[in-house]
């Protein structure tokens, strides 16, 4: 038992790598259940009429792309199928590159730039830039990513404020993120918001979801995997789910190993305190 309490660090690293790589090389095929929150998001996006205007916030960077990109790609596939128009924006400096990559690797590559979709690039300033965007879209994003005037594109005709947008979808691992869209856009314009968040942020955005400020979320890689299944395009997230499951199991086993002495210690201590109090009680009565 003591040996299990003192596994060297290097061994744990190796075990982790094996646990993650194993199912990637030889998938187990643990069935993936669709959660309510992902289904809600899917249904919300599915309710968009053809020609609706969706602002897509590419608010993630390569550092978080492993979690966020599969979400973005799966949702973009759905949007392409729904024949809506997508305005790509970013409040994260490395976001426009993510947008270029995402458009190129989905059905959007076949669509017409400037008519069906556009990449308006990045604007600095964080939450203040989100506020500027909400009240003046062509002013805030006066050019597209390549520097051409945004109003020269057909897709931007008639778009002035967030009130002219049917839905905002933001894929954001941090700030500016869904919270900022809620504070600066939803508060004034009541624009529908769907948020792709990393697993780390699921618990933080939960109050906004309960309050109805965010209509639906995709949480982490499992959220992406479920969406991939809903749009019937299983990709990297679905492929990663066995590894994700086993990783969680590994951590739980390690936590249990760590806490076995506490558990037994607590039981012993509890037993001792019970016997002490019983003795005291008896003493009191006698």
């Amino acid at each position: 038992m003591e040996r299990l309490q003192s596994i060297p660090k290097a061994w744990i690293y190796v075990i982790l790598l094996v646990v993650l790589a194993g199912p990637l090389l030889k998938p187990i095929g643990i069935p993936i259940q669709i959660s309510d929150e992902v289904r809600t998001s899917f249904n919300a996006i599915d309710s968009l009429a053809p020609g609706s205007i969706v602002v897509f916030g590419f608010d993630y960077a390569p550092g978080s792309a492993a979690e966020m990109e599969p979400q973005a790609l799966a949702i973009l596939e759905h949007l392409a199928e729904k024949q809506v128009k997508v305005i790509g924006i970013s409040f994260q400096a490395q976001g426009p590159q993510m947008a270029e990559k995402a458009f190129a690797n989905t059905a959007w590559a076949e669509k017409e730039y400037g008519v069906d979709y556009i990449n308006l690039g990045y604007r600095a300033g964080g939450q203040a830039a989100v506020a500027a965007f909400a009240s003046d879209i062509p002013g805030t994003f006066s050019t597209d990513y390549s520097g051409k005037p945004s109003t020269s594109f057909p897709i931007m005709q008639g778009i002035k404020t967030a009130a002219d947008i049917d839905m905002i979808i933001t894929i954001a691992p941090g700030q500016p993120g869904p919270e900022d869209y809620v504070r600066q856009v939803y508060g004034t314009y009541r624009t529908r918001i769907i948020a792709g968040v990393p697993a780390v942020a699921i618990t933080q955005v939960a109050p906004y979801v309960q309050a109805g400020q965010i209509e639906g979320i995709l949480g982490g890689l499992p959220g992406a995997a479920e969406y991939e299944l809903l749009v019937e395009k299983p990709g990297t997230a679905v492929a990663a789910m066995d590894a994700q499951s086993l990783a969680h199991l590994l951590i739980i086993i390690l936590i249990i190993l760590r806490n076995i002495p506490n558990f037994f210690g607590a039981k012993q201590a509890h037993a001792q305190s019970v016997s002490n109090s019983t003795q005291k009680g008896r003493g009191g009565r006698s």
Binding site: G121, G147, G187
Partner: protein, 198 residues
């Protein structure tokens, strides 16, 4: 196995950064410094794009003179590097902080406070009642103005347990996220680079 030079460079950079887990070494430091340099360079390019498209173009091409003000303020930020006039940088900072504070205050009052209260008191099911009780209990835990004694002391105690549940959930999802990022890298190495993944 990939024959693409870019994939190979990316693969070697991945291994170099990963090697830091084992110990600090020259390969890691090379990759780390390139990463910082390229990120900083990219930030400058993006910032330049913002200044050009948002202010410089309207000023030069459409004669919108108002853009001179933010450009001058932006340049004044760099006064901090010159002794004697460094205090001038306080003006653009004041403008930036003013905008940031104004935006944050109005967003926080509405989105993070008023709407949260109305969502909490809108009770219609058992879970809604539980949510209301848990929110009140958690808020009472942060009430530091006076020590809560007597039977009502159970309320902040319940709040403490509720917060522990929230932190436990946050720990669980943090593990989930970190594992996902490592899985992404392994998928790249085994799939895109070595081509051994199906």
């Amino acid at each position: 196995m990939s024959l693409d030079m870019g994939i190979w460079v990316a693969g070697l950079v991945t291994l170099a950064i990963l090697s830091h887990v084992w110990k600090e070494n020259p390969f890691y430091r090379i990759a780390e410094h390139l990463y910082v340099g390229i990120s900083a360079g990219h930030a400058v390019v993006m910032a330049w794009g913002n200044i050009r498209d948002t202010a410089a173009k309207p000023l030069a091409e459409e004669g919108q003179l108002v853009w001179i003000i933010p450009i001058v303020l932006g340049v004044l930020l760099y006064a901090r590097y010159f002794k004697g006039v460094a205090w001038i940088a306080r003006f653009p900072v004041a403008v930036m902080v003013g905008i940031g504070t104004g935006v944050a205050v109005r967003g926080a009052i509405h989105g993070d406070f008023v709407q949260q209260i109305s969502a909490t008191i809108n009770v219609g099911s058992v879970n809604d009642i539980l949510l209301l009780v848990f929110v009140i209990a958690s808020l009472s835990y942060f009430f530091f103005s006076r020590t809560i004694k007597g039977p009502v002391a159970a309320i902040p105690q319940l709040g403490r347990v509720v917060l522990m549940v929230a932190f436990g959930a946050a720990f669980g999802t943090t593990v989930m996220g970190r594992m996902a990022l490592l899985i992404g890298r392994i998928q790249f190495v085994l799939g895109d680079w070595l081509g051994v993944m199906k």
